[in-house]
């Protein structure tokens, strides 16, 4: 038992990887689902134990194959990693029971075991990015998660899913290649790939090689920016989220972009920030401007959208803007707000897309005009949607309010009053697009096509209600989310020069 205790970081990657291999050979969807469910329920327990280890004894360093870093690959888990690991594996575990019914409807039976195989590979990649302390290893995991994501999206029932997947593949590969170019330039300058080692060697090299280091920063920022759908690099996201199988959209919105944001934060603060004065790097102003553009413009796009999933996808681009805004603010309150919004937005969007999946399960459409009066037919589903939607707006008492509170504090602390105003203004646009759908769902007489609609079975409804309840719970008790995010932000900013 104590042996396993020391091997927790690698278990995060090994378990879903082996699960994926086994799932690839299974023929019956039921068996593959049971295996996936077991693994996805085990992962948060491991992530929780890791978080406990980190809280008790500081960062955990795991040497792969016993090779000392920086020669061997190091898995390094500090508060921020453990936090992201727990978020991704926790949300996957909560959502997994809902997968069976939703996937049964949207994917042919003989393809379903492969679906679970791809999901487990995607989970491997995402958890791998979050756990590794090696820049090149992060690239490999980035591609493991991306390649499986392309397949998951292409499994969507509409033929346009294929095109969305192809476009994401092109853009995603360009992003990953940009990231490798950036890492390559850093390797040329420093001769190392270990993130902690990079941080200590970039500083001395800055005097003579600042141009190469800045180029590396640029390539890495754009590369990861493509993966996390930073405005205006978000063009792949709306189609991919709209045409992917409904459950896949819910999972991706809660995890894939969040992990990419984590990687950006890690590079920005722990690698570049730890080596060079952040004010010398031209990233903050750049990211702040793009974040504000995302918050406002993507929200406006969402207002005019008639497809519920696409509306939520544009909303995701806008919400990612809030997270990156926190990074751009570079102060304690701002970074805390950004990090806590990773969790809060993950929960809210998972609930919203899961509600959309439940709607599709019952009425086979997610076009808003055809969903008039859906609230009267599916009251619990729409109640959960409404609560999560209020969170998206940032209503006090929901977790969305907590994130925006910290972001506004961060903006005021910097003296950027117009920014604080824009955060509130973009929330009002969110009120418009969420309110518009809620009006259609609750206030109108049920449409013809909805006569037989009813709340989904418990396996879908319980995860949905749990996520909506979490949105309220973490809006009232911020100890676990904002508390840990605050500590993580403190150690991130404390490590910078």
């Amino acid at each position: 038992m104590s042996a396993a205790w020391h091997h927790l970081p690698i278990l995060q990657v090994i378990l879903p990887l082996f699960g994926a291999i086994v799932a690839a050979f299974l023929r019956r969807p039921g068996t593959a689902f049971a295996l996936t469910l077991a693994i996805s329920w085990l992962m948060p327990a491991i992530a929780g134990a890791l978080l406990w280890q980190v809280l008790a004894g500081g960062p955990v360093s795991y040497h792969l194959g016993g090779w000392e870093p920086p020669w061997g690959i190091e898995y390094r888990v500090d508060l921020l990693n453990a936090f992201v690991l727990l978020l991704v594996s926790g949300l996957a575990a909560v959502m997994m029971p809902a997968a069976r019914r939703s996937i049964d409807l949207e994917i042919e039976t003989e393809r379903q075991p492969r679906f679970y195989c791809m999901f487990l590979l995607c989970l491997t990649g995402l958890l791998g990015i979050a756990v590794t302390g090696d820049a090149f290893n992060a690239f490999v995991f980035l591609e493991i998660s991306s390649l499986s994501t392309y397949v998951l999206i292409a499994l969507g029932p509409d033929r346009r899913a294929l095109l969305a997947s192809y476009r994401y593949l092109i853009v995603g590969t360009i992003g990953a290649t940009f990231y490798v170019i950036g890492v390559g330039l850093l390797y040329l300058v420093t001769g190392t790939l270990n993130m902690a080692d990079l941080a200590s060697r970039i500083g001395p090299a800055w005097e003579t090689q600042s141009r190469a280091i800045l180029a590396a920063l640029g390539f890495i920022t754009v590369g990861i920016g493509l993966k996390l759908a930073l405005f205006p690099l978000h063009a792949w996201l709306p189609n991919a989220y709209t045409y992917a199988p409904s459950w896949v959209t819910a999972f991706l919105s809660a995890s894939a972009t969040k992990v990419a944001i984590y990687l950006l934060v890690r590079f920005y603060f722990s690698v570049f920030g730890a080596a060079v004065d952040l004010d010398l790097l031209p990233v903050a102003s750049f990211i702040t401007v793009l974040s504000v553009a995302a918050m406002v413009l993507a929200s406006i796009s969402a207002v005019f959208e008639l497809n519920l999933k696409r509306m939520l996808a544009y909303s995701s681009v806008a919400q990612i803007g809030y997270i990156t805004l926190g990074i751009g603010l570079q102060n304690q309150a701002g970074v805390t707000g950004g990090l806590v919004h990773i969790v809060n937005h993950g929960m809210m969007k998972a609930a919203l897309f899961l509600a959309a999946a439940a709607v599709f399960l019952r009425v086979r459409t997610v076009r808003i005009p055809e969903l008039a009066g859906i609230g009267r037919k599916m009251p619990w589903t729409m109640a959960a949607f409404s609560v999560a939607g209020l969170g998206l707006i940032g209503t006090p008492g929901t977790s969305g309010f907590v994130s925006k509170w910290y972001l506004v504090l961060g903006a005021i602390e910097r003296g950027w009053w117009p920014l604080a105003f824009l955060i509130v203004a973009s929330s009002l646009i969110a009120l418009v697009y969420v309110g518009r759908f809620l009006e259609v769902a609750w206030m109108r007489e049920p449409a013809q096509g909805l006569a037989e609609a009813a709340d989904p079975p418990g396996s879908v409804l319980v995860p949905l209600l749990a996520l909506a309840a979490a949105t309220v719970y973490f809006g009232l008790d911020t100890g676990l989310t904002a508390g840990i995010a605050g500590q993580a932000a403190q150690s991130l900013l404390g490590g910078t020069r």
Binding site: E143, V180, G184
Partner: protein, 121 residues
């Protein structure tokens, strides 16, 4: 003159950057889904050069310790790029498979025709 010499001295980087930009240009400028993938492959391959070139030292041998040799090439970039090649092959296989499925579903691999067919039904 100095600038020209410096460029000539770093001709390996010139080749790398040329391939990089050419690949990226093909991806954006071509409407044929296969040609886009070809461009993507060129773009990815240029990065292999970026890693491997600086690892080679003129006159250096494989890093097997032997009293006869004192100069060794760096083996790590080769290992890294071996991994990157595997990733590139997987990406290409998946991309081509997607194009096959797109051709089955839409009856075309030209981006403009596909968009037109998408509007029609």
């Amino acid at each position: 003159m100095d600038a020209l010499l410096s460029v000539a001295g770093h001709y390996n980087y010139v080749v790398t950057v040329f391939l990089m930009v050419a690949g990226l240009y093909i991806v954006t400028a071509r409407g044929n889904l296969i040609k886009k993938l070809v461009g993507l492959a060129i773009f990815q391959t240029s990065v292999y050069l970026l890693y491997i070139e600086p690892g080679k030292i003129l006159g250096g041998t494989a890093p097997v310790l032997d009293p006869q040799f004192t100069t060794y090439s760096n083996p790590l970039p080769h290992v890294l790029i071996l991994t990157a090649i595997v990733v590139g092959v997987a990406t290409m296989a998946l991309g081509l498979a997607l194009v096959v499925r797109i051709n089955e579903a839409f009856g075309s691999i030209e981006e403009e025709e596909i968009i037109e067919k998408d509007r029609a039904p």
